[in-house]
């Protein structure tokens, strides 16, 4: 029998199954949309899963106010194209309302503040499932994450007490006030994501492709120069040809020296690189278990 479902199709099928399961099991799901390639992939897969009907989930963007301008432009055009509903949770508003307090100092970042805003947005919208683009190959705490990840009424993750997931059976049962984080692309690697996006010819934000930008170096990581980061006197700004491997807030997303200007060149680069994509994330470097610590409190 000539049967050959390649690994990318297999992953696609698994993710579509998860997305349909979410639409079936939950009353009010939402897609956490960051504008990064992984959340773009989720939206693309959701489009396929429910075609020709509309995606049955709105998009939720937690806006730190420190975004790359390219991210916002991409987000708005995608939302318009899909006819989807966009909800924005603003970290700036939360700071103005004194719900959260801004970090101070040279490494100040709004990354941690996102958690409070995210949890508030989920509560306000009464969302019982929040879909995200986290992958298990990204980081060691994420390697233990379930597809359907239970959160208690405080939005906390209890990694030692996770529900077992067997076969095609995903248990999304929950009490009032609790919710689930859902990770449909858990089994994809960075390379899988790129290969798929290339094969599907998905339109991507320009930040992923090499471009010239003002940068400076901090603790071995290149950061994009912007008004949101206070620099030390010895941190000199210079021009460099760079691209982003992940897209987050400008204050914590490192950029990489790169000449990759097409998806094919990015795949080539990813296939030969010796650093994980989160190696450029200063938010992960705060301690050995900083991702696990943040996740327990309700981070993405």
């Amino acid at each position: 029998m000539n049967y050959n479902l390649n690994h990318i199709k297999e992953l696609e099928s698994e993710s579509i199954f998860i997305l349909r399961e979410v639409a079936s099991q939950f009353e009010n799901p939402v897609i956490m949309f960051s504008g990064g390639k992984d959340s773009i992939l989720i939206v693309h897969l959701a489009y396929k899963a429910f075609f020709p009907a509309r995606i049955p989930f709105p998009l939720l963007h937690i806006d730190t106010g420190h975004n790359f301008p390219e991210t916002i432009a991409y987000r708005d055009s995608l939302v318009e194209k899909l006819g989807a509903k966009l909800i924005v949770g603003s970290v700036q508003d939360a700071i103005d309302k004194r719900m959260v307090v801004e970090e101070k100092g040279f490494n100040a970042s709004r990354n941690g503040l996102q958690t409070a805003v995210l949890l508030e947005s989920l509560e306000n919208g009464k969302y019982d499932a929040a879909l995200g683009g986290a992958r298990r190959d990204e980081e060691k705490a994420r390697a233990k994450e379930r597809f359907f990840s239970h959160r208690d009424e405080f939005g906390q993750w209890d990694p030692k007490n996770q529900r077992p997931e067997l076969w095609n059976l995903f248990n999304g049962k929950h009490s009032m006030g609790e919710h689930f984080r859902i990770f449909p692309i858990s089994n994809w690697t960075e390379l899988d994501v790129w290969q798929y996006l290339a094969a599907e010819k998905v339109d991507l934000p320009s930040l992923y492709f090499s471009h010239e930008r003002d940068v400076f170096e901090r603790e071995g990581v290149l950061l994009a120069d912007c008004d949101y980061i206070s620099k030390k006197p010895e941190e000199k700004v210079y021009k460099e040809t760079v691209r982003c491997r992940t897209i987050g807030d400008m204050t914590c997303t490192g950029v990489w020296k790169s000449d990759a200007s097409t998806v094919e060149q990015i795949i080539e680069e990813v296939a030969t690189t010796r650093m994980t994509e989160r190696g450029g994330r200063t938010d992960d470097k705060r301690s050995e278990t900083s991702m696990e610590d943040r996740k327990k409190k309700g981070y993405f």
């Binding site: 029998m1 049967y3 050959n4 479902l5 390649n6 690994h7 199709k9 297999e10 992953l11 696609e12 099928s13 698994e14 579509i16 199954f17 349909r20 399961e21 639409a23 079936s24 396929k48 899963a49 429910f50 075609f51 020709p52 009907a53 509309r54 298990r136 190959d137 980081e139 060691k140 705490a141 390697a143 233990k144 990694p159 030692k160 996770q162 529900r163 077992p164 997931e165 067997l166 076969w167 095609n168 059976l169 248990n171 049962k173 929950h174 009490s175 858990s186 089994n187 690697t189 390379l191 899988d192 094969a199 296939a271 030969t272 690189t273 010796r274 994980t276 190696g279 278990t289 696990e292």
Partner: protein, 419 residues
């Protein structure tokens, strides 16, 4: 790291304890396929130094704080690597009896089980337990790695004795395809490269085996089973009467024009269209997520099943299963009621009878002590609130499996395989 877009996906599970070299083996596979990144490597090196150790590859898989503190793997960790031929997903699970439920979870989706034996110790209780779980969960292929061959001077007699012992034990199990490989995870013998220390061994290296073992026929291509997962109704002008049945094929090959039967109604219809992720397709295979359109206007809903006419699963409310109990707080209650998930059905059941408890070290069937606590394996009879469409687990891992859920805590408390 390189991978071809057309490569197959192979899922394998490992189980093991602290000293049998499992972490070293996985670390080695990742390292040799260049799947450990430099920053990961440096992070592990730093963490190892803080603990006063040489580089400890176990830290690569033991990601949680408590796992690092206790130096044990508690949960299932998923690892990824790829070679030009295949992409691999490792479900790395702890081997101790108190983590049987994690082993079962890892085994549920595996194509291959990798069983490690310490050449100095031979077949021990844990080896048997892993083999029994692999048999219970019907993992199609088992590869037994006889590790630490360097510590027994690569002695062929040691290897032969262990192979013989394992085969004698496996004869009592429901396992079909078993392979043996003498290795040293530490030194890399017969992992990626053939070792010159074992000239008497003419089988494949572990990597060659993993890259080439035939997995395409592990799925059931004969019996068409399509559990309806979600009904797509676009409510758009141009798709006025569109009613698509979305789901993932659990068995069989579905072709446009096929005559099918709908369960539970028993009505028949014909496949009008198969909508795949990239447009319409003429046929679809097991594990593909698709949307089916029927020629006739029947109103199916989630939980119904589309099957081939004259090839129906068993439709029944009385189900006999092998059950693995997961709950650490409560025992399985005879006459207890639980929520039950099977394919896309979500119903309730009552435990009518506990027949026996299976000792997963010795295969002994205990009919006296029927107190079923965490990690116990037992044979039980269930009665469901409504008919399920089931196949024996050994015939179909999807239509033959179900989980029980505690209605008070919402926790998944048992995994069941239909007999």
């Amino acid at each position: 790291m390189s991978q071809d877009i057309n490569s197959e996906l192979l899922r394998f599970t490992t189980a093991g304890s602290v000293d049998d070299g499992k972490s070293t083996l996985i670390g080695r596979l990742l390292y040799d396929s260049k799947s450990i990144y430099q920053d990961q490597y440096e992070q592990i090196k730093q963490a190892s130094e803080r603990r006063g150790e040489d580089i400890n590859l176990a830290l690569l898989t033991d990601g949680l704080k408590s796992e690092r503190e206790q130096g044990i793997t508690i949960d299932v960790a998923y690892r990824y690597f790829a070679t030009p031929k295949r992409k691999f997903i490792i479900a790395d699970t702890p081997g101790h009896i108190q983590y049987t439920r994690n082993m079962v979870t890892g085994a549920s989706s595996a194509n291959v089980a990798l069983v490690l034996i310490d050449a100095r110790k031979g077949v021990v209780e844990q080896t048997k337990r892993h083999a029994i779980i692999a048999s219970l969960l019907q993992i199609p292929h088992i590869v037994v790695c006889i590790n630490k061959m360097d510590l027994v001077d690569y002695d062929e007699k040691v290897y032969d004795k262990i192979q013989d012992d394992f085969e004698k034990f496996a004869a009592k199990l429901d396992v079909v395809d078993v392979h043996f490989i003498p290795i040293s995870a530490l030194l890399g013998d017969n992992l990626v490269h053939r070792s010159d220390k074992t000239p008497w061994f003419d089988g494949p290296t572990l990597m060659y085996y993993l890259e080439n073992v035939h997995i395409a026929s592990d799925l059931n291509f004969i019996d068409v089973r399509f559990p309806v997962q979600f009904v797509i109704r676009p409510y758009k002008e141009e798709y006025h009467d569109y009613r698509g049945y979305a789901g993932r094929i659990a068995g069989g090959v579905i072709k446009k024009g096929d005559e099918v039967m709908l369960l539970p109604s028993g009505f028949t219809s014909t496949i009008d269209k198969i909508q795949g992720p990239s447009g319409e397709q003429a046929e679809a295979y097991p594990s593909e997520s698709i949307t089916l359109l029927l020629e006739d206007d029947y109103d199916l809903s989630r939980g119904d099943m589309i099957v081939r006419a004259n090839n129906s699963p068993e439709v029944t409310q009385d189900i006999e299963v092998m059950l693995v109990w997961f709950d650490g707080e409560n025992s399985l209650r005879s006459n207890g009621k639980y929520a039950l998930m099977h394919t896309t059905q979500d119903i309730r059941c009552v435990v009518k009878e506990i027949r026996y408890k299976l000792d997963i070290n010795s295969l002994h069937r205990d009919q006296e002590d029927l107190d079923i606590t965490m990690n116990d394996v037992t044979r039980v009879v269930l009665r469901t609130t409504k008919p399920l469409f089931i196949d024996p687990y050994r015939k179909n891992r999807i239509t033959g499996s179900l989980v029980l859920i505690d209605e008070g805590t919402n926790n998944t408390v048992a995994a069941c395989m239909v007999i």
